[in-house]
């Protein structure tokens, strides 16, 4: 028998029947099943703790039917001035925050890229961007409302921070994936650092940057419709107020307008992305 055959055969020999060895074999064979079983038990436990039972669900549906019947027909008229003003405010917050976010992310994306900058520069930039991304916009919104007071300024700051958190990271990744050959060629021509960025780096990332910017705008538009709930401006405030006053027909009108806005945005951003492909 050669060495290989012996090694193959050895794995088929009966294993020593020591206690620990048995336990280890048991887990090797049933490990995945045990984990799956524990997971199912946890889900059932969580449902019971939340008080979710078939009875609770059917109660929920009955209430839902009543609620639905009170939504229609939508009422656009009673509070039209508020609705119009706040919808436009949401849109403005989203547009301006996206632009601020993109303008800040451009330099940060270049400064945070490890293929262009030394680590003394990249790590503070990356830390800053991670912090900007760490919290949900609602939480940042609460902080800004406390810091600068109620109103659209808080929403604008919130979404600017959130934008930097997301597109800053995507920009860095895009810059780190570029071909350094093109960069080196521009460098070899004696171009200044700024020209190397402008001609060696930006042409390689501009289309992706535009795509990321558009995605961030989509996201900002959705978030700008909820920030009003914490008092940071936009349609969310009116929506929440109508809801608390049980003005469900106004709620319905606002929800329909938000849906319309999002559909319009999807259409526009699809067109823009196609142009820059």
């Amino acid at each position: 028998m050669d060495a290989l055959t012996r090694r193959v055969l050895k794995t088929q020999e009966p294993v020593p029947t020591g206690g620990m060895e048995k336990v280890r074999r048991f887990f090797r064979f049933y490990g995945v099943q045990i984990l799956l079983f524990l997971f199912v038990v946890y889900v059932l436990f969580a449902l019971s703790r939340l008080g979710i039972s078939p009875k609770r669900i059917s109660e929920g549906f009955t209430q839902g039917k009543v609620f639905l019947s009170r939504l229609f027909p939508p009422d656009f008229i009673t509070r039209w001035d508020d609705i119009r003003h706040d919808m436009l405010e949401s849109l403005e917050i989203a547009v301006v925050a996206s632009i601020i976010g993109i303008l800040l992310s451009l330099p940060l994306g270049l400064l945070g890229a490890r293929n262009l900058m030394p680590s003394v520069v990249t790590w503070p930039v990356r830390l800053f961007i991670s912090l900007a991304r760490a919290f949900n916009p609602i939480i940042i919104g609460i902080i800004f409302v406390k810091a600068v007071g109620f109103g659209p300024l808080a929403g604008l700051l919130t979404l600017s921070v959130a934008s930097v958190g997301f597109i800053g990271k995507l920009f860095i990744e895009a810059v780190e994936e570029i071909s350094m050959k093109q960069v080196e060629a521009v460098r070899a021509s004696g171009a200044s650092f700024l020209s190397v960025i402008r001609f060696g780096v930006l042409p390689q990332v501009s289309a992706r940057f535009i795509g990321f910017g558009m995605y961030q705008f989509d996201s900002n538009l959705r978030n700008s419709t909820t920030l009003g709930i914490v008092g940071a401006g936009g349609i969310g405030g009116t929506l929440f107020a109508a809801y608390q006053r049980f003005d469900y027909r106004i709620v319905c009108a606002i929800v329909l307008l938000i849906i319309g806005l999002i559909i319009l945005d999807e259409y526009v951003s699809e067109r823009v992305r196609r142009v820059f492909q």
Binding site: A185, V186, A188, G190, P203, S206
Partner: protein, 253 residues
């Protein structure tokens, strides 16, 4: 014999401590000559070239280029020196998303004011020069095409055009034909040699193809393991010297 354009003296380079890639290399490039460096992969040919235009800094030694010691230059002085040395790359290294004309004009960036460069405000005579060069390179109708639409041979011509737009006093050419088929290789070398001769620019070329080197070189230098092991006219490049450069002779048959 006239004064050398480029004098490399005792140049050494290690990327890692005590692992030199270049050992004490000394070499002169004379005016208007085409000097071709051959040698096996890893011999340090590209490293030598990248030291010359200061894309990397050598560990020790000097490179004198018209009175400047290149490794000692920094910042603006270094960039002002770089723009006088054109470089052509094995994989062309064109900016893919820019047009052919814009790629040629990259050769002018080193001469432009920062704001003009940023806004692509090229001088009219630069654009004229680029168009004239494109005509010479047979790329006139491609001027406004994006560089990523071109074939390999066309791309390398753009690479040559970009380097020549710098009005260089020396051309560094790193394996210009390794990504091209044999016929295109000869064509590209021909147009490059022709344009360099016309402008009286000395050329330093790295390549693997010994026959192509024989065809275009005024002088051939053989490198092996970071040292120059042959330096002479192409007639002096015998099979024995080739065996010394590449090691063994079984690959010749």
């Amino acid at each position: 014999m006239s004064e050398a354009i480029l004098q490399i003296r005792n140049l050494s380079k290690s990327y890692f401590h005590k692992q030199p890639v270049l050992h004490d290399v000394s070499l002169d490039v004379k005016p208007e000559e085409i000097l071709i460096i051959i040698g096996p992969s890893g011999a340090g040919k590209s490293t030598l070239m990248r030291c010359i235009n200061h894309l990397i800094t050598p560990s020790s030694g000097h490179i004198y280029f018209k009175g400047l010691d290149i490794p000692s230059l920094h910042g603006n002085q270094m960039r002002a020196c770089r723009r006088r040395i054109g470089m052509v790359f094995q994989e062309f290294n064109l900016v893919e998303r820019l047009t052919v004309l814009e790629n040629l004009l990259i050769g002018r960036l080193g001469y432009m004011k920062p704001l003009d460069a940023f806004l692509q405000r090229y001088a009219a005579e630069d654009i004229d020069a680029a168009e004239a060069l494109l005509t010479r390179l047979g790329l006139r109708e491609f001027a406004l095409k994006r560089a990523d639409n071109l074939s390999g041979g066309q791309r390398q011509r753009v690479g040559i055009g970009r380097a020549l737009m710098q009005n260089p006093e020396l051309l560094l050419v790193d394996e210009p034909t390794s990504s091209l088929d044999p016929k295109t290789s000869v064509e590209v070398m021909e147009i490059m040699a022709e344009l360099a001769r016309e402008r009286h620019i000395p050329v330093l070329v790295n390549m693997h193809d010994v026959n192509l080197a024989r065809r275009f070189a005024d002088r051939i230098v053989g490198m092996r393991e970071g040292r120059i092991v042959f330096d002479g006219k192409k007639e002096e490049l015998t099979n024995d010297t080739l065996a010394k450069i590449y090691g063994g002779d079984s690959w010749m048959h």
